[in-house]
Subunit: 329 residues, 2 copies
DNA sequence: CTGAAAGCGCTTACAG
DNA sequence: CTGAAAGCGCTTACAG
């Protein structure tokens, strides 16, 4: 590896001078500058960011903690982050907990040990030890998808979004509306969306039969199974179903089609997430677009503000969603 | 920031000793070890990886260069990489060229300046300056998706895969088979897949009408347009069409449905890539599964071997594909 | 305009 | 078993 020392020798100047031309700081004579630049060009020298950040305490790297890396949501999210960070010359160090909560604290420490300038975490469920560790870190931090008071958060309006969806269904004349959710430990997707469904039903004085509410996990098969459960065990058959993810909704659609019912005539189906799938499936799926890229961009901007010391208070941003009404309802 | 010095003082030992317990190397008395561990525990000290790698010349970070970050392919690929790298304690530094070739060299240098232990690049089209820079870098490197002689490559058998697909169509009785491709500058997807189509047709002595071959870009709309072109301008209407990506194929399906033809009765459609969409669309799309995760895993393993000095020769790995025959043909 | 020297936080021979 | 000291490749007051 070439070092600044060698460049200095070849250009017949001191390391200080080389450093100056590298960083465009301080006075350097045109003569010297030219010589240094020439040597750098010839040798293909690239300064060591490691050594640099050991001195400057800045790394121009920000850490991103993802609950799952191989999903459409994650890649959109990272894309949004990258869009604003790349412009400022920041790199992304990616970590993936694969839904294992114990990994979160591990990665937090790891990112700290690598002196990232800031951290963005997209979380599903959060626990106290994690929160404690975040505060302990004292590092610019933005939480996405869940809300922790005292931190800055970028959140989605999960509650209102599903209420809008249920209300739309009600407006269309549905009274028996079923719900496919996920574990409530996931506060946003599990708890809040279920709460929104229940609130909306209550506000319209509609009864909810217990068997209309089913809990699955994050895949299509699970949506299929839940739909079967709902239809098999309900006294009053629902005429509509809303699922907390598109994937679950699409699984439900598969079951409905399979038993020969039609969508939306016999049963209307709605999902959430605006996945690519939702556009392409037939009938096209009514869903909620949560603007994931936008969340990524917001999180990155917020983090940048913190890094640059423009604000250190708690700031919460709620990302706007859009209800996409399509053919499935 | 807490440093090793402070830990040493608090534990009443030298920095050397702290370093020893941190790395579990050399002799340390139980006494001392216990004291140090206690202080670390109490303070939440995390050693600086920067300082460490400045000395050791290892960063435990590997750089990944992606042509586009927000695609299903990319996230699957990164997932595969992460699967094997995470086990070995490596982190991923992600860069995204957004299909801008000039970014590639920039990122190569950047990754070098960050002293990554190795680089994995997923490329679409490659040019000589890029190749030169890679060789200049002298860093463990694995190229994925394209083949550069002298480097280690993980490639897909694009040519044979599409030949298999075309031959299957032929076996099913199709003689007029159209093709939707992309720019041939993309050697794998553009050039090789087109070559495979042409070869397969030739081997079966089937004529190819010029208008059967259309070129699009990587989205559905483009597939739709190409299909329209094919149907509008052909003397002999094709009874089947194969597209080089699922997205293009699905776009084509949309047009076919729109004009009231049915799939596969009137026109059979095949894609490539085994996207999630392909499963869900109806009729489900016949496609090729290139095992992207597997490519990620292979690339990571190969890179690890190089980093550990187990091999430094060129090694090429061809990832197996599977033809998924579904309802669209 | 230029350079010698200190220092960032670690590790690692070396000496004891 | 332990520690003083050198060194990794940079930057940055400071002195000239």
């Amino acid at each position: 590896m070439l070092t600044i020392k060698e460049i200095a020798e070849r250009a017949n100047v001191s390391r200080t001078t080389v450093s100056r031309v590298l960083n465009n700081s301080g006075y350097v004579s045109e003569e010297a500058k030219k010589r240094v630049l020439k040597v750098i060009e010839d040798t293909g020298y690239v300064p060591s960011e490691n050594a640099k950040s050991l001195r400057t305490k800045k790394t121009k790297v920000i850490g991103v903690i993802l609950p799952k890396i191989s999903t459409e949501t994650s890649s959109r999210f990272v894309n949004g982050i990258d869009e604003v960070l790349a412009k400022e010359g920041y790199q992304i160090l990616l970590t993936n907990t694969n839904l294992k909560p114990e990994k979160e604290i591990e990665f937090l420490r790891l990112l700290k040990s690598r002196h990232v300038d800031g951290i963005i975490q997209s979380a599903t469920n959060i626990n106290q030890p994690l929160v404690d560790e975040i505060f302990r870190l004292k590092i610019p931090f933005v939480m996405v998808g869940q809300c922790i008071s005292g931190l800055s958060n970028v959140v989605f309006d999960d509650l209102q979004a599903i209420k809008d969806m249920v209300n739309l269904l009600i407006k269309k004349g549905h009274q028996h509306i079923a719900f496919i959710g996920v574990d409530e430990k996931d506060r946003a997707v599990g708890y809040l969306r279920k709460a929104g469904y229940i609130e909306a039903m209550k506000e319209s004085n509609l009864d909810v039969e217990k068997s209309w509410i089913q809990k699955g996990i994050f895949d299509m098969k699970s949506g299929y199974d839940c739909m079967k459960m709902i239809l098999d065990s309900s006294q009053n058959k629902p005429t509509a179903v809303v699922a907390v993810t598109d994937r679950l909704a699409i699984g439900a659609m598969q079951y409905i089609k399979e038993i020969g019912l039609s969508i939306p005539e016999d049963i209307a189906v709605a999902g959430m997430g605006a996945s690519e799938l939702s556009k392409v499936i037939s009938p096209s799926l009514t869903t909620i677009d949560f603007s994931i890229e936008e969340a990524g961009r917001e999180a990155a901007s917020l983090l940048l503000e913190k890094i640059n010391g423009q604000n250190n208070r708690e700031i919460d941003r709620i990302i706007k969603y859009r209800l996409l009404e399509r053919d499935s309802i």
